[in-house]
Amino acid sequence: MKQKQLVYIYLLFMAFALPSTAQAMHISEGVLPPQWAALWFIVAFPFVAWGLRDLRIKSQRDPAFKLMVGLVGSAVFVISCMPIPVPTAGTCSHPCGTGMAAILIGPTLTVVVSSIALLLQALFLSHGGLTTLGGNILSMGIVGAFTGWAVFRITRKLGLPVWSAAFLCGVVSDWATYATTSFELASALHGTSSFLKMFAAIGASFMPTQIPLGIFEGVITAGIYQFIMPRRPEVVECLGVEKPQPVIESNKAEAVV
């Protein structure tokens, strides 16, 4: 009986108290014990190395590519700081941006860009941390980017329109990021209690914000992609995303800008 009451109180607490801290989307400094922090660094390292290898090869072909990656990374970093209202929590949170970046510059380079963005956020915004950088790169950079990119490619191959593929990419990359973060937190913090119970509890704590936020991120990713594709077909082509669409006239929505 006590256990059941505790679970109810816990879920109630999670639903109302945790969303206020949802702006800190990364695992904070000091949360991961040394062995887990080291493990996630070891897991993340090959992906960062892979991304840097890709960067070197592509920038040897075109020296401007490195600048393009840096600037697009910077833009995605700024977008990830944009507040999005989360009505279920009554607060604001912000998108991960990795799905968008994975479509634009590819998943391996997104890992590189994410590792830098995470370091900058840890140093200058107090989001995330240095010892937890490996864990955060894994959840946001690797899992977020690769799942988002895979979803985009698969849905495009299945014949879905670009906007819906971008939408699904945004949604899945966001949810995958948080599922991985929950996994990392649960595996590090479950102690003597059950891992699955802790995983479910942390997952439940993210749900009030992440379900709507993932959908919103999907909508924004679709909006961004739809906005860019027709206007910069040559740059999009240069980044290797896909065949460009014809240039369109400015639409009604653009007037808002």
């Binding site: 009451q5 000091g30 490195k66 944009m82 830098i116 900058l120 909508v219 961004i224």
Partner: protein, 261 residues
């Protein structure tokens, strides 16, 4: 966005004081050492001592208290939640029992001490990074990272990203103001549409900026690599600071561990 720019800026790191004059490699190694020691500590005393030292140093070098509070607000929230969760979820030995809405909540001794340790590590770690970023400009941190073995391409992208984040933050602030004036965020649907347009505009401007920057750098001899230049050998005083800081950290670490045994 202006608040974000203010927090994100390394303005205070460009002042001239005792800590800004220290070699960035020394500061980086000491900061990493403190962070590692913190996650190895088994008592909250060490992280709390580091927190106190860093806060005093941050305020002493002239960082406004308001900015310190802003930077530590999110970690403080996380620390509180961690303390509460661990107290309720972990451990078996009851410490206090609270009755809320007819349900009993038992705070356990093991959970509370574990939560306190985690919370102190979060706050201590964040204070170390706050101090490091308050006394070292971003480009010097990247330069030091390169000197300590970070890959060249990674450091170049990091420098570019940091530099152009401010340009794009300014642009974002302008576009958001324009959208707000035109009621772009009146209602959920319009807000989401505006957010998509804002994101698209920021990425397009970033692409344009990349093309312009490439042209500008090409005429200055850019061939795909930003020359960082070698760092001078560590000065004797910096080596002493490094050694002294190591001794202080080790003393503090082992002292607090023994004290709590």
């Amino acid at each position: 966005m202006s608040l974000l720019s203010e927090i994100f800026s390394d303005l205070f790191a460009r002042q001239d004081n005792v800590l800004t004059r220290v070699d960035p490699r020394t500061k980086l190694i000491v900061a990493l050492g403190a962070l590692c020691a913190m996650i190895f500590s088994r008592t909250p005393l060490f992280p709390l001592a580091v927190l106190a030292l860093c806060l005093v140093a941050t305020i002493a070098v002239g960082v406004p208290k308001r900015l310190v509070v802003l930077r530590l607000a999110a970690p403080l929230g996380i620390a509180s939640v961690l303390l509460l969760l661990q107290s309720v979820m972990a451990g078996t030995t009851p410490l206090w029992t609270l009755v809320i809405l007819g349900a009993k909540i038992t705070i356990t001794r093991e959970g509370f001490s574990g939560g306190l340790l985690l919370a102190s590590r979060v706050l201590g770690g964040m204070s170390v990074m706050l101090l490091l970023s308050s006394v070292t400009p971003a480009h010097r941190i990247f330069h030091a990272m390169r000197a300590l073995g970070a890959p060249e391409g990674w450091v170049e992208i990091a420098m570019l990203m940091y530099r152009y984040t401010f340009v794009l933050l300014d642009l974002t602030a302008e576009v958001v103001s324009a959208q707000k004036v035109r009621l772009g965020y009146a209602g959920m649907q319009r807000g989401l549409c505006s957010a998509g347009l804002l994101g698209g505009t920021v990425i397009l401007r970033a692409m344009d900026q990349a093309v312009a920057t490439n042209e500008a750098m090409r005429v200055r001899g850019y061939n795909g690599k930003i020359p960082l230049g070698p760092m001078p050998a560590l000065a004797r005083c910096d080596a002493w600071i490094l050694g002294g800081s190591g001794v202080v950290l080790a003393g503090l670490f082992f002292g607090t561990e023994v004290l709590c045994r």
